[in-house]
């Protein structure tokens, strides 16, 4: 359904997308996971047609996405901004945005009512949106992207800044949309969101996909090893030097920063050896955590940094 080939985009000297390639099938829900500046929003903006001056190509439904304007009617976009009119009601907003997608008016009215039920705003359909809470606005923002029953739905951080209840509601909607056959790409910082919502996860950093697959496939990258997170008063370089010689199949340094380092260990019996090395090099450790393999540890291994760094 969607095929992205070697998409490259720069902002001055900064390479936002670096020969980015991806394929997406019907009904697939792809979670794009990456830290700030990974290129997620750049990718969504290019696909949505709101960012130009790039190289590479995108084929959607067998046609060139950027040459065939009619494809805009087959794609829904839920931007990070609450992009609707606060002074209008939820229903008026849906009627306006749906009108721009050429949905015939009688059908649009039915569809708007149906979506207001779906996002649990039917009871407040005629109220000005400015009276809504953040969560209600996010749900309306999502509903607008679904008005014209798109084949591809792009969501850019659709759960930012809302409470848990609203987040769960939006993630339910995304799962439902995928189940109905619409392909979905959604970007997020939240590991838990992609773990529970997506059929496929892509980890992205510095404009490239580092790894992709199902949650199980990604966890296998780290293997069955536990991850040890060490907090202390040390600099990154001496910490790495202290552990030289230990590295191998049984201990792998995943990341090291001033005061914080992560290691993958084949067995927790390796931990005393690690501590011994650190004490001998006079590196003070103040805390230590042992974590089971998870998407977070995968992310750490692939990017060398935490998701929120």
């Amino acid at each position: 359904m969607l095929e992205i080939k070697n998409l490259t985009k720069s902002f001055g000297d900064i390479l936002a997308l670096d020969r980015f390639s991806l394929e997406l099938g019907k009904g697939e829900v792809l979670g794009l996971l990456g830290p700030n500046g990974a290129g997620k929003t750049t990718l969504i903006s290019i696909l949505a047609g709101t960012l130009g001056d790039f190289s590479g190509g995108v084929t959607f439904l067998g046609r060139d996405l950027f040459a065939d304007r009619s494809l805009k009617n087959r794609m829904g976009v839920v931007p990070q901004d609450m992009a609707f009119y606060d002074e209008l009601s939820a229903m008026d907003n849906l009627m306006f945005w749906g009108g721009l997608y050429d949905v015939p008016r009688p059908e649009l009215k039915r569809r708007a009512a149906e979506l207001l039920e779906l996002v649990e705003l039917a009871g407040r359909a005629k109220e000005p949106v400015k009276n809504f809470s953040g969560g209600m606005k996010r749900r309306l923002n999502t509903a607008i992207g679904l008005l014209h029953r798109p084949d591809l739905l792009l969501l850019d951080e659709p759960t930012v800044g809302i409470d848990v209840q609203a987040k769960v509601s939006i993630l339910d909607i995304i799962r439902g949309v995928g189940a109905s056959g619409t392909a979905v790409i959604f970007t997020t910082h939240q590991l838990a969101e992609v773990e529970t919502t997506c059929s496929r996860i892509a980890i992205m950093d510095r404009g490239r996909i580092l790894a992709q697959g199902s949650l199980d496939e990604l966890v296998r990258i780290v293997g069955e090893r536990d991850v040890v997170e060490i907090v202390g008063e040390f600099a990154a370089a001496p910490f790495s030097e202290a552990l030289q010689g230990l590295a191998g199949d049984r201990v792998e340094l995943l990341s090291a920063a001033d005061g914080l380092a992560s290691l993958a260990v084949a067995d927790t019996e390796e931990i005393p050896r690690i501590m011994d090395r650190l004490f001998r090099h006079k590196l003070a450790v103040t805390d230590m955590k042992i974590k089971s393999p998870s998407l977070e540890t995968v992310f750490l291994k692939l990017t060398g940094r935490n998701l929120r760094d």
Binding site: S45, A48, G49, T50, L51, G52, R69, S70, K72, N73, M75, V77, P79, Q80, D81, M82, A83, F84, Y85, E87, L88, D92, F96, W97, G99, L100, Y101, D102, P128, I144
Partner: protein
Amino acid sequence: MRRLFLVLSNDVRRHLKSPLAILIYMAIPMVMTGLIGVIFAPRTEEGQLPPIQVLLVDHDKGLASKLVLGTFDVDQMKKMFRVTVTDEADGRKRMEKGRASAMVVIPEGFTLDLLDARTTTLTVVKNPAEQFLPDVVEEFVNTLAVMLSGVVQAFAAEVQGVRAMLEAPADAFPWEKLGPELGKAQKKIVAARTYLSPLLIRLKAEETRAAGAKTRFTRTDLFSIMLPGMAVMFLLFIVQTLMRDIISEREDGKLRRMMTTPLRPIELVGARLLGGWVMGLAVLLVMAAFGTLIFRAAWGPFGYFLLLGAAASFWTAAFFGCFHALVRNRNQAGAFGAPIILAFSLFGGSMMNPEAMPKAFLAVGVATPNRWFIDGAALVRDGRFPAASLAVLVVSGLVLTALAVPALRRRTSV
């Protein structure tokens, strides 16, 4: 086109849902006009019209001319007219300076012509700078002429008797005949029920033609002159407010979302320009209607005013289309927009009478829409077609549109 009108109707709906800013901008010119009117308009007793200034030139100095003059001297008429008897040269000079609403000229031989039942002509010279008062004088003199003509024709025989009496030496005045003559006249007065024709006194109406004749304003005149200036100034503010969406929608992400739909940038630009134009015109017409209702301001023929308003609103929408394509954000739009509008208003005559402005201001003023709208409105008020104002506003509006469309398209394309 369908999407263009969808955006346009959505904009109208939005502004109707939260009309506070527009209502404030519409109320301010009314309040300012009212305040200035109260402060500067001529004072009258409890809202009555002030006495109408009439100049009377008596070339006849006979009985009939005294009768005409005496009519103005009756108590009731004194409240309505303030008559100054003068000679014709001085009268014309005063009229050219706008010192009176009208001048009535009684011709030489007026009394004798009446006594001989010959046609004669009273001339009323009107001040064109005033709207209603000269017409009141004309109507009054016309009525006087009709009455005098009727009286002279109905009492032709008695008039001859009166003439004979008048021509008799003072010491030989036939007093014994006076009683029977008056008795006969009384019977005729009872019998006379209609005017006779043709009229012996004709009325000739003229207007002073001196350029720049200043008017002695009534409050209504003042409102009629002030309101167009105020209206065009606040039209600029209102259209700027309406078209600020171009910037704000770019900043809050609505523009990006619109560009993810099949809506084309040119359709959005068209909707914004058309919206500014149509809503600006609607607001201008509402302001004009309120001006008429509240201040009895006169605007002249509606068709002409509509054209002028449409041209001014078109110019304004095109100008702010260009403006919003150039400014970077809402803060810049706010910071530069108001000073530009105030400068237009200052140099264009919205804030003071153009005749009282320095020459340099007048020269700059021709580059403002205010000046052309105010000049056009003055012509329309006099019932004349504002061709020059329309031509300037439409042609320069088209030039601005030609600049605004590509510039806005660039800002809209993301």
